[in-house]
């Protein structure tokens, strides 16, 4: 698979040079790359799922390292891993239902299984399915195998793979790959259509004659506002320019071209304007597991202003932005320091910034992101609907399996 390696290298390069902008584009390209990785991966007869998972993990590790700040890469890698696990499991379940009883002595360490040969295949399948689900109070007493203690899925499915091999050898291998690719295609479809899905809900949230504040520019927000406009809502938009990239200017221009009354303000005027605003709508860079948001710089300030005046602070985010990690130390871990040229032109103050001479005492810091803590967010609107910040964990449990939270396989030494 040399051509795949070339693709991976090219993608890693693009990520490292920050040539891919925006989490949607990144997510989509990641999914497409992983799709080609899977389709080129030669699968052995046994442990097909494991070999696919290992291949995806190996690639995933490289591309996550290439740009650790772009969390959507890691999200998509984890989603694809989850898809492989799910598809494999559904195949195993089908196969077991087909066999009837032959697979009862699964390798799970249950004493009763051995003296209970009449245990139905459905029960085995249910037990297998529960390994994918996050642990819950319901299953606390049922099984001793702990998902955090050991990764049971690959080994157990690999084992039953070996058993089912005798009956349907070739077809299953192709079927698993086919199913996985199909599901990844669906994922790509979801990523592409997430703007429309979110925009569909616009009329429920934007009401007649309201004033909406946003900062910078986000495609999701643009589509959201346009969708409300198309449904004959008339409202005003206040756009903070979003220094230092001033993408708010572009947004205001585009909105005005669509006939929406928009006002451009400086970022520093947010607090002055907030009392006249009915709602703040912004796009996120990433949504963390605790409901906190990684957002373009300046939004923490807006969130605090909105909180002070009890203005709802609404965050739009496609489900590919949902990250299963916790921001342990958000101020340090998840930020990118961009080039000073966005703040100062070349040549300006350059005598002061020359670090070689003793005069070099001027520094420029240009962080790209803010962390907005969950208690400042009123509502998340994702492609599956509106959610409370404290509900994010449930969406994460749906999209990711607990075994994949750490993609890196080598043991990390105490970070």
């Amino acid at each position: 698979m040399p051509d795949v390696q070339a693709l991976v290298n090219e993608f890693v390069n693009l990520l490292k040079k920050r040539k891919i902008e925006g989490s949607q584009a990144t997510a989509k390209q990641t999914a497409e790359l992983l799709r080609s990785v899977i389709s080129h991966q030669r699968v052995p007869h046994t442990n097909q799922a494991t070999s696919l998972i290992n291949a995806v993990r190996a690639v995933g590790e490289q591309i996550i390292d290439a740009n650790p700040i772009e969390l959507s890469v890691g999200n998509i890698v984890r989603r694809v891993l989850h898809i492989i696990r799910e598809e494999d499991l559904s195949l195993v379940t089908d196969a077991m239902a087909g066999f009837g009883m032959s697979a009862t002595s699964d390798d799970e360490d249950d004493v009763d299984r051995d003296d209970q040969p009449a245990l139905s295949a459905a029960a085995v399948a249910a037990a297998a399915r529960s390994t994918l689900r996050p642990p819950s109070l319901q299953t606390l007493l049922e099984d001793v195998t702990d998902s955090a203690a050991l990764p049971p899925t690959p080994s157990s499915t690999g084992d039953s793979d070996g058993k089912s091999r005798s009956v349907e050898k070739g077809t299953r291998g192709r079927k698993l790959k086919h199913d996985v690719i199909e599901a990844v295609n669906e994922l790509i479809q979801d990523i592409t259509s997430c703007h429309e899905q979110i925009a569909e809900q616009a009329v429920e949230h934007i009401h007649q004659n309201e004033v909406i504040l946003t900062l910078g520019s986000s495609k999701t927000v643009f589509e959201f506002l346009c969708a409300a406009k198309e449904k004959k809502r008339s409202f005003k938009v206040v756009v903070a320019e979003g220094a230092p990239r001033y993408r708010g200017h572009l947004l205001a221009k585009e909105l005005a071209a669509r006939g929406l009354q928009s006002t451009v303000i400086a970022d520093s005027a947010c607090f002055a304007m907030i009392s006249r605003v009915n709602m703040v709508i912004i796009g996120a860079h990433a949504v963390m597991a605790n409901g906190g948001v990684i957002a373009p710089i300046g939004l923490h300030m807006v969130a605090l202003a909105a909180h002070r005046h009890a203005v709802p602070f609404v965050v739009l985010a496609g489900s590919h932005k949902l990250c299963p990690l916790y921001p342990h130390n958000p101020h340090v871990l998840l930020n990118e320091l961009r080039s000073p040229s966005e703040l100062l032109d070349f040549g300006e103050f350059s005598d002061l910034m020359d670090s070689a001479t003793s005069l070099g005492s001027l520094y420029v810091v240009n962080p790209a992101f803010d962390y907005v803590p969950p208690d400042l967010v009123s509502l998340f609107i994702t492609d599956t609907g509106g959610h409370n910040p404290s509900y994010m964990y449930r969406l994460i449990a749906d999209y990711y399996s607990a075994d994949d939270l750490v993609v890196k396989q080598r043991p990390t030494t105490g970070s």
């Binding site: 996050p134 007493l141 049922e142 702990d146």
Partner: protein, 385 residues
Amino acid sequence: MWWRSASFIMDRQQNEAALKGDTIAPTDSSISNPNPNPNPKTSAYYETRAAHHGVVTSDWLAQAQAAIGPDPDPLPQLRPDPDKPFSVINEFNNWRKQPHLAEAVAAIRALAAVIRSSQATTMMQLEIELKKASDSLKSWDATSISLTAGCDLFMRYVTRTSALEYEDFNSAKSRLIERAEKFGEISYKARKVIAMLSQDFIFDGCTILVHGFSRVVFEVLKLAAQNKKLFRVFCTEGRPDRTGLRLSNELAKLDVPVKLLIDSAVAYTMDEVDMVFVGADGVVESGGIINMMGTYQIALVAHGMNKPVYVAAESYKFARLYPLDQKDLAPALRPIDFGVPIPSKVEVERSARDYTPPQYLTLLFTDLGVLTPSVVSDELIQLYL
């Protein structure tokens, strides 16, 4: 030395006296008497806690780990005599006396003993018998939330694992007993999982404030120390049973820098603290916790100064309670010694626990994962729906 202090010795004497009362009194009681607690004025749960943590050493923690070896029944001499009538409360008290066992484990072991000695021939009869036993256990010590939660969890398991899956009643019975015996292991494993999950949150150079003695919190800190993390711990004293002193003692043995605070110095030191770590006696449906007296005010101070409050609690402590305020719970009273005689006209607040509402908690570390407080009700609803 702290254990020689006058108030501690007096506390211990009282505890021992109370414990003796506990062990003698229930022998003549039976299930027919729903509330044979000899001293309903004080909370049996907090008395045992104080007694256990009076002997807490790394030795018993090692014992606890050894006890969860291949032999699920470490103390066979505790089996009730065959000629004596079986009492679930006796059984429970036998288990509870072992300091390494969590309260819920003792409860579930006691219920397993009920199944073992049961004469029932159908699942329905067994369920009714268990229900009676768990009700009498719950009413025997209404102040223990883990006891109630453990009983409820096991009852729920029994109801759901009904004979539908097992045609044979005896195999269902043996399965139930086996699961109950394994529960000690589950509880032990839960602590390990929690310790692992919380490692990400402890960063080098941080200062952690802890309150009282919690086995889970101790496990978390121990693992962090083993992982060579550099952190410092502030321990509150934890009046009146002084559990904080014991924790600081244990931490000093692990070479963790530790500083003792009197309970009233929390606000004074909070600006140096990076995070607050507490255990929980019970986690209620709102996502709030019920814990040793003083937790609420620590959480309030931490919230006021924008410091995260982390709770480490096993998921079997989730209880179906929804307290609206502090006085909503049955008060769990315990003796408090002030060192000097208190005039009889002076009233003493003797409650052993308080309720911390969920808005003051940042995250819960449980064996189900790292959760926001709102997940608790979700889990409970899923289980009891």
